[in-house]
């Protein structure tokens, strides 16, 4: 169940910078990278940088955290619909819980996700915070 160092290294582009792919055949924006377009099923390996902007599709405040996340509970997880089309699952951060709502504009930030293993290696990744109204 513990995330592994090699795994974190493999996923650094996606987790730190929201790097996806763009399908050269149908233009579909793909995140996470799949190398095969889920829309037209053609090979799709063109790197594509997502803007990190999106809005809340749904959210929930989680009170019982799985192993590895206990110290952070309660925290709010959400489905974020990104501007370019893909949806991602992520935690919300820098929020006032009662002000979170479906449709709220958010933007990606890099934050600590958890500490792992006996040595407590820190794992970072994307979270989303409310976007200023003028953004």
């Amino acid at each position: 169940m513990t995330e592994k160092i090699a795994l974190d290294w493999r996923l650094r582009g996606q987790r730190y910078r929201l790097e996806g792919e763009e399908c050269p055949h149908c233009g579909y924006a793909i995140f996470p990278p799949r190398d095969i377009c889920p829309e037209c099923h053609q090979p799709a390996k063109e790197p594509f940088q997502l803007s990190g902007r999106g809005e809340v599709y749904s959210y929930s405040e989680l009170r019982h955290a799985p192993t590895g996340f206990e110290e952070y509970a309660p925290y709010t997880v959400a489905l974020i619909k990104l501007e370019e089309g893909p949806m991602v699952t992520a935690q919300l951060t820098d929020i006032v819980p009662e002000r979170v709502e479906i449709g709220m504009p958010v933007e990606m930030v890099t934050r600590r996700l958890r500490a792992q293993g006996d040595e407590g290696t820190l794992v970072y990744g994307y979270k989303f915070r409310p976007r200023l109204a003028l953004a």
């Binding site: 959210y59 405040e61 590895g68 997880v77």
Partner: protein, 384 residues
């Protein structure tokens, strides 16, 4: 392709079996099924299970169960499809008999979930979702269902309270099931008062962590009548998948794999949704009941909750569901659930469901869901 029938069923009570190892849970259900079918030996056995490696440190469960049943030698494999592992194993058993590769086949669903802490079990269950893009974000299985439920409430204007009757109905039915974990009625008021575990999902929206095992014996239809006084014909087996991560589905509330799986099952059985007398759906969470009713064609989009509110899911309603308690009140030992559903459907079709009996039940449907909907397996069973 040979037609296949169920000639025996077995189950053990769902609950916290502190004193029983996973192998002996499976053994209990298997022995009951062999006895019910009145057969001493099978040609093959398929074991549906998700978590034996994580929780019991035991993989290779097919061989373990065959061995401890005293049947070392026979074909034995484990089949896994997260919470749909039970129905997945049944599907493989059906292929074995349909192809002619085996005649008498046992399918066992088994799960031991109470040997680890609640947090560890929560983390283990999350392996049914996308490890790299869901679990890694700290989302639990409950939270995934909460995301669905909130969006559903938002899109269709329902309140939390409107889901109460899914839980109330399940518990009311479980009262008549001696194998249920919670054979106790609950009220809508109790549902409304229950603690919230991941907003808007409360304690009484969710099925419990528990241990259990159930088994069925399969045979070719043409010999089933000579082997069993009340064989049940498998009219359809259908499976469909959807992206593993909820966020990768174009419309998460559509429960697309359930729609596909149901349609494939109706086509194979040559029936309509309306022909089904009862529906053992996968009520791991109340939101799943609503979405399943819609995807299987019993309600319009966004109107599944209406069936609960109107009492149409009760024993005497338009489409009775969770007739012996469902995942909510019978319990949800994940890899065993798909087989419990089938065992209960067979009881209904044999007319042996006691006070929970659906009058004149002739066609029953079971639907087992893996993960948040990535694997959905439907079976249609018919009384002969």
């Amino acid at each position: 392709m040979r037609d296949v029938a169920i000639i025996g069923i077995g189950q053990i009570p769902v609950g916290e079996h502190w004193d029983t190892s996973i192998r002996h849970l499976a053994l209990g259900a298997a022995m009951n099924a062999l006895q019910d079918a009145n057969v001493a030996q099978v040609d093959a056995m398929y074991v549906g299970n998700m978590l034996s490696g994580h929780i019991s440190g035991q993989e290779h469960l097919g061989a373990v169960v065959a061995d401890f049943l005293g049947m070392a030698g026979v074909e034995a494999l484990k089949v896994e499809a997260a919470c749909a592992s039970g129905a997945a194993a049944l599907r493989v058993g059906l292929m074995a008999v349909a192809s002619g590769m085996s005649d008498i086949v046992m399918v066992v669903g088994v799960e031991k979930m109470t040997d680890t802490s609640g947090q560890d079990t929560t983390a283990a269950l999350a392996m049914a979702a996308d490890a790299e893009y869901e679990i890694s974000q700290g989302v639990s299985f409950v939270a995934l269902n909460a995301l669905l439920m909130r969006r559903y409430m938002h899109e269709y204007g329902w309140a939390r309270e409107d889901f109460a009757n899914f839980a109330v109905n399940a518990h009311a039915n479980a009262v008549h099931n001696p194998h249920a974990m919670f054979p106790k009625a609950i009220t809508a008021a109790a549902y409304n008062r229950a603690a919230i575990i991941a907003d808007p999902v409360g304690l009484l929206d969710a099925s419990p962590v528990c241990d259990g095992a159930a088994a069925v014996i399969l045979a070719p239809l043409d010999v089933a009548r000579s082997l069993s006084p009340a064989p049940v014909r498998v009219r359809a087996s259908a499976i469909a998948t959807d992206p593993i991560a909820m966020h990768d589905r174009p419309d998460p509330l559509a429960l697309h794999a359930a729609r596909l799986s149901s349609q494939r099952a109706y086509a194979a059985a040559d029936i309509q949704a309306g022909d089904v007398d009862f529906f053992e759906l996968h009520d791991a969470f109340t939101i799943m009941s609503a979405l399943s009713l819609e995807a299987a064609g019993f309600a319009e989009r966004g109107q599944g909750v209406r069936l609960a509110l109107d009492g149409e899911i009760a024993r005497d309603g338009r489409i009775p569901i969770t007739t012996l308690g469902g995942l909510k009140a019978r319990g949800h030992p994940v890899g065993a659930t798909g087989i419990y559903q089938v065992v209960e459907a067979v009881l209904q079709l044999r007319g042996l469901a006691g006070a929970a009996q659906i009058p004149n039940a002739r066609l029953g449907m079971t639907q087992n869901i893996g993960g948040s909907g990535a694997t959905i397996i439907t079976h249609i069973l018919e009384a002969l």
